[in-house]
């Protein structure tokens, strides 16, 4: 967690209980296994999540050096990025793409060789790693969580310090259960007021990214606070923390509260009985002390936010549903102007075009940003008895097997299937173009995922990020519309 151009707050009285501390600092202080140099520490890692894409080279490194995994009991492996989300019954052997199959098989073999608990493809527990971690009760307040995936920030919704790491760092965690880290700076995003009806956590975080910029929080851990954050359910908080990385932040954090405790109760690996009561006493101390200072503060008025839609190939290129594609001619910085020109060319959009009414070809509802049961319920409520527009292809991909089972128990799949959506198995799916679900060149997609980078959903694909409600409404209208006009 370093940014070389700026000083860190290493001198800020670590562990001194009298000095007011931020939530970030409290978790940090509780996980210092060894002090190194210049404020750097060995930070102890409570949970290490492992996926098939970023781990093979880490296990190779261990083998080459003759090293073991220090704490298999704090590690869990699952395949999510590569796995097909249809015709699952044949298991791993039936994965058509040989390279994808090899990656999943390699994960299975590494998990077996190093004794790491593994969620098999055909387990009802399988799913996107950032969805199943909380579901299993592995994500707890005050813990440190890492994964070779940048959206590990999702778990911060529970007041856990959770961040993405590279493969070399993953190897370091496997071998030592620690990471070499320097303290990040602390940033507060204070969200006052109330979100208007039909405006969601996704709109809130897209708005925040638009304000902060994709590099605005580089080197920082963002803590989200304020009444509008307290009002969010856990699913919404996960959506917000998930996209912290899109503002450049290493992690997002929300202090735990009653909603957090209630959500955790009864989860397979959450503490139970006496332990829960004791854990809760500890969790209640996990908040920023009055008087603690942040390096940066941003104020957001929730009431000012409309349903958001991205128009470019960076998540900061975003506007409200009533907005227009901006005009590069109005941008003075030449590099920014050039980027904007390139974005509009790639997206096939002319300056001044209203977002509302833009025809779409594909709809993707899913991903670790919006693949939870609450997201599917919200989308289904918009769909109601209607059918998707002719010529549109639409996918609903539950974030986990448990989400899928829950949705089917509630009959949501019937609503989607009757409307003409495809109802899939759990995985990353069309969030990134590395499994069979992807856009064809030039296709325009209303997507609930988190990145609209060039080629992210398939080469030449054009992504508009939005909420599940907005994506569902787009599927029905065949164009980008205001989901509030479709609410029951």
């Amino acid at each position: 967690m370093t940014t070389p151009s700026t000083t860190t707050r290493a001198d800020a009285v670590p562990g001194a209980s009298s000095a007011p501390r931020t939530l970030f600092r409290k978790i940090w202080d509780a996980h210092v296994a060894a002090d190194l140099h210049d404020g750097a520490v060995l930070l102890y890692i409570d949970r290490h999540l492992v996926n098939e894409v970023t781990s093979p080279q880490a296990f190779d490194g261990l083998r080459l050096a003759g090293r073991r995994v220090r704490r298999p009991d704090r590690t869990i492996a699952v395949a999510d990025h590569n796995v097909p989300t249809d015709h699952r019954a044949g298991g791993v052997a039936a994965i058509a793409d040989p390279e994808s199959r090899l990656q999943v098989e390699t994960l299975e073999r590494n998990a077996a060789d190093f004794d790491i608990p593994y969620v098999p493809l055909l387990s009802r527990r399988q799913g996107i790693v950032h969805i199943i971690g909380p579901e299993l009760g592995l994500t707890l307040p005050g813990t440190t969580i890492v994964c070779g995936d940048s959206h590990t920030s999702t778990h911060g919704a529970f007041g856990a310090l959770a961040f993405g790491i590279g493969t070399s760092e993953a190897e370091h965690v496997l071998a030592t259960q620690t990471l070499i880290q320097q303290p990040a700076r602390a940033m507060l995003v204070q969200v006052s007021g109330q979100l208007r009806a039909g405006v969601t956590a996704k709109d809130l975080i897209l708005h925040i990214i638009g304000r902060v910029g994709t590099a605005g929080a580089t080197g920082h851990v963002i803590e989200y606070a304020g009444p509008a954050i307290r009002d969010l359910d856990m699913a919404g908080r996960m959506t917000v923390c998930n996209m912290s990385i899109e503002a450049g932040a290493r992690a997002g954090l929300i202090a735990p509260d009653e909603k957090t405790y209630r959500w955790l109760q009864g989860r397979p690996w959450a503490p139970a009985g006496e332990d829960f009561t004791r854990a809760r006493l500890h969790w209640e101390t996990l908040h920023t002390d009055p008087g603690a200072s942040y390096d940066k503060t941003v104020h957001i008025d929730a009431a000012s936010i409309a349903p958001m839609v991205t128009w470019g190939t960076s998540p900061e290129a975003v506007t409200g549903i009533d907005g227009h594609v901006p005009d590069p001619a109005h941008v003075s910085d030449p590099a920014r102007r050039q980027q904007m020109d390139a974005m509009l060319a790639y997206m096939g959009l002319a300056a001044g075009t209203p977002l509302r009414g833009l025809p779409i070809d594909m709809v993707f509802i899913g991903s670790c940003t919006n693949g939870r049961i609450e997201d599917l319920r919200a989308a289904a409520a918009v769909v109601g008895p209607r059918r998707i527009a002719a010529g549109v292809r639409a996918l609903v991909v539950p974030g986990s097997g448990m989400v899928k089972a829950q949705a089917e128990a509630e009959g949501l799949h019937r609503i989607f299937l009757d409307a003409g959506f495809e109802w899939r198995d759990a995985g990353c799916s069309m969030c990134l173009g590395m499994n069979p679900d992807r856009l064809a060149p030039g296709q325009r997609c209303a997507s609930t995922s988190n990145r609209n980078f060039e080629g992210r959903q398939g080469p030449g694909g054009r992504t508009h990020l939005m909420s599940p409600q907005m994506a569902a409404a787009a599927a029905i209208a065949g164009r980008i519309v205001d989901a509030r006009d479709y609410l029951p």
Binding site: A33, T54, Q57, I165, A215, R451
Partner: protein, 205 residues
């Protein structure tokens, strides 16, 4: 990893902001279980355009990239620095570099250098002209030099510098702190309530 001491190489200008890791190496190239051979996917879509700088001499031999703000943003894929390395890039210079990518570079013997915009503008201009595109990066001296006599100092964390200079395996170094880690784990059980061992039971069905 390969030590980084001094690098004399052609610098390629990449005057783009927010170059994300999908752009550096798109997802289809992540389907590998090895670290090598990724150079062919580097900047895949940009390189399909004949005009792209890395398709032209002398920049097709570039060892240094000069880019604009927020280089390496996006995913944590270490495949992005592996692809740079496989192509021959050992140094990235930009006004700001995304955190995870910065870390990943250091772990792979790629030197990430953050310089002010004014310095970047000068380097960008030099890199654009084949006559001045060769730069000399000296990590021990913490200086980027051009053939024109220009010398720009840069800042880097002391430990990272040492590790890069020596090509050191930081896992080996951290394992020398085994006693500290064990002591932490010992005390942890009383500090941490409810962080239970993960078991295979319950995951299969």
């Amino acid at each position: 990893m390969m030590p980084f001491t001094r690098l004399d190489a052609v610098a390629a200008p990449l005057p783009l902001v927010n170059v994300d890791t999908d752009k550096i190496l798109p997802a289809p190239f992540l389907k590998t279980i090895s670290r090598t051979g990724l150079g062919k996917g580097l900047f895949h879509s940009l390189r399909s355009e004949p005009d792209f700088i890395l398709n032209h001499a002398p920049w097709d031999q570039a060892g240094i990239l000069v880019a604009l703000d927020n280089f390496g943003c996006g995913s944590s894929r270490e495949h992005a620095p592996w692809a740079l390395l496989d192509f021959g890039i050992r140094c990235v210079i930009a006004p700001s570099i995304a955190d995870i990518f910065y870390n990943n570079c250091c772990k792979n013997g790629i030197l990430p250098i953050v310089l002010p915009h004014t310095d970047i503008d000068r380097l960008m201009a030099l890199a654009t002209d084949p006559a001045t595109a060769t730069l000399s990066v000296d990590l021990a001296q913490q200086t980027v030099r051009a053939t024109t006599g220009l010398a720009l100092p840069f800042v880097i964390d002391a430990q990272r510098k040492q590790d890069l200079l020596q090509g050191v395996d930081d896992i080996a170094r951290s394992l020398t702190r085994e006693a500290d880690i064990a002591a932490y784990e010992h005390a942890m059980d009383s500090r941490q309530v409810g962080v239970r061992a993960i078991t295979q039971a319950g995951l299969d069905g």
